[in-house]
């Protein structure tokens, strides 16, 4: 009996090793090759278009990093969809009145505060994060609308727009720098620190984590705060790139970000995940957007096709994970 168990176990190990880890890379490659062939005359493969994809996905990638931490701890953060707009508007308004540093701090601070609010409700009031962040998603969507009476706020500070948007440093666009730095730091914290290990343990088995001396509430608070703070940074990147802030920013990102994270190999129920996978997942979503536009699909058709492809991708990656 014990030998049967062992062989079933090693078989399972082999299975998951082959598919689960690489599903996102295979999917990425498949979509890339498909568009490369179908759109070879529409400019999909130009350096300009490809680098555009990376630039456009920067905010989503940053949010995805936060969500990997949240989901690895067994929680979810739906509020990022409206945190982005609140942060961008807070930054834009403050920037106009009090200057660059205050603007940046206001944007990041707004995101962090929303994250801490979510986190406190989840960790200490012990409400389910799904319900908490569903409520704060709506709440802050309202806040972002009332902040400026639905008006768009221009961002004219060229240092800000350079740093968070269109700037170039050492020949590399600043949005790529932001993506690369956030992914690198996120990956190291996630994979190589005690905090990262405790996040995973909390999502995996909160009781085991707790009896092992890990403060589960503090981990829950921390992941929600990280997610809020990174959504705030995403708001700054939007404001920088578009040179304006508006309540609609980030509105459609929630589905994309969740899909990127799940396709990238992070379990919805916690305990396992990947920052690099989320990056690739996010690029894959961006490539999908870009390719469908170049194919000339109408906006409604784009939404339908994207929804179906995300459904397929998520189904494949979840099937691999839940044995």
């Amino acid at each position: 009996m014990s030998s049967a168990n062992t062989s079933a176990a090693s078989q399972g190990l082999a299975n998951r090793f082959n598919l689960q880890q690489y599903v996102v890379y295979l999917g990425f490659l498949a979509i890339f090759l498909f568009f490369a062939v179908v759109l070879k005359d529409s400019g999909f493969l130009t350096v300009r278009n490809l680098s555009n994809i990376v630039l456009q996905t920067a905010p989503a990638t940053i949010m995805a990093i936060g969500l990997v931490f949240v989901m690895s701890a067994g929680e979810i953060d739906l509020s990022i969809g409206s945190t982005v707009a609140v942060a961008a508007l807070a930054a834009a308004v403050t920037l106009g009145h009090y200057g660059l540093v205050a603007g940046v701090l206001a944007g990041l601070g707004a995101g962090l505060l929303i994250g801490l609010l979510n986190g406190a409700l989840v960790a200490y009031v012990k409400l389910p994060s799904f319900l908490v962040t569903l409520a704060t998603l709506g709440l802050f969507a309202g806040v972002s609308r009332s902040m400026t009476d639905l008006r768009s706020i221009p961002v004219t500070d060229s240092v800000f727009t350079g740093f968070f948007g269109s700037g170039v440093f050492l020949g590399i666009p600043s949005l790529i720098w932001w993506t690369a730095i956030a992914v690198a730091i996120g990956h190291i914290i996630y994979r190589e620190t005690r905090f990262g290990a405790h996040v995973l343990a909390t999502g995996d088995n909160a009781r085991a984590a707790s009896v092992s001396g890990i403060s589960v509430p503090r981990i829950r608070l921390a992941v929600m705060a990280i997610s809020g703070g990174l959504a705030g940074l995403a708001g700054l990147l939007y404001a920088g790139r578009l040179q304006a802030a508006k309540y609609t920013l980030g509105e459609t990102d929630l589905m994309t970000v969740i899909a990127a994270v799940i396709v990238g190999g992070t379990l919805l129920n916690g305990g396992r995940g990947s920052i690099i996978g989320a990056l690739v997942g996010s690029l894959m979503m961006g490539m999908l957007n870009n390719g469908l536009i170049l194919m000339g699909l109408s906006v409604s058709d784009q939404m339908i096709v994207r929804g179906l492809i995300i459904l397929a991708a998520v189904a494949v990656s979840l099937r691999e994970k839940s044995r």
Partner: protein
């Protein structure tokens, strides 16, 4: 070793009461465990054995009563404190993080870091491999994921973890429940080696054969009440069964 045994008990429970929302789970429980002594805790399902273990390890706090470690009264409000007193536990549900590796579980909550503050994986892996070899628990590798292990292997990991970190007292909640004959013998060997390390052991088991083989004393619990404590050498199975069930044996 016998001289220290005569000294202070490593664990002393006095008049422990535990209520769960109005229901009494443990009443009037008092027990001492000396260094190098193996005490067995027996009783039917729901008698309160696991609850008692969780009170000692700091998962539950007692409604009243006192706990002392090496003569010093302690209040344990969480599991970290019990661990800092050198107490380790193998819980009935093992408390393993299923999707993490064996070595991460071995060091859960106590991961060593290098000078840069990053996880010292090499050290965790090396120490895990040593331990697995030393205790002869058959685990494919330190890298294996817990959920890919068999029930017995998982139990082996939980026991290896507890024996690695325990310095004074180890609490084992049915440590051989999922084990085959050879594995059970191995765990019993490990328990006896703890005795040689002068560590106190409180073991819960439903196997009276095992209890009589390992323990120095047997403590019987029935529906939260402490029925009695017997020296293993001076009692027999009939008496213990009678105490557990409350029925006289013929």
């Amino acid at each position: 070793m016998n001289t220290t045994e005569a000294n202070a008990p490593v664990l002393k429970l006095q008049d422990i009461h535990k209520m769960f929302s109005g229901i009494t789970a443990i009443e009037n429980f008092s027990l001492e465990v000396y260094p190098g002594e193996i005490v067995a805790l027996v009783g039917d399902n729901g008698a309160g054995k696991s609850t008692l273990i969780k009170i000692i390890s700091g998962v539950h706090s007692p409604t009243s009563g006192s706990i002392s470690i090496e003569g010093e009264t302690v209040t344990m409000s969480n599991a970290t404190m019990a661990r800092s007193h050198g107490i380790e536990v193998v819980y009935q549900d093992l408390a393993l993080a299923d999707q993490q590796s064996v070595y991460m579980n071995m060091f859960l909550g106590r991961e060593p870091v290098n000078g840069l503050g990053l996880l010292d994986r090499r050290r965790m892996i090396a120490e895990t491999e040593n331990l697995v070899k030393e205790l002869d628990v058959r685990i494919p590798s330190a890298h294996a994921t817990i959920r890919d292990l068999s029930g017995g292997q998982r139990q082996g990991v939980a026991i290896a973890r507890a024996t690695h970190w325990a310095s004074k007292l180890i609490l084992l909640d049915e440590p051989t429940a999922a084990l085959g004959v050879a594995e059970t013998a191995k765990v019993e060997e490990i328990v006896l080696s703890l005795k040689r390390r002068n560590i106190g052991v409180l073991i819960i088991s439903h196997s009276l054969d095992q209890v009589f083989k390992l323990s120095d004393r047997i403590c019987v619990l029935r529906r939260g009440k402490q029925i009695g404590v017997r020296e293993t050498a001076k009692t027999d199975k009939n008496e213990i069964i009678a105490m557990i069930t409350g029925l006289q044996q013929q």
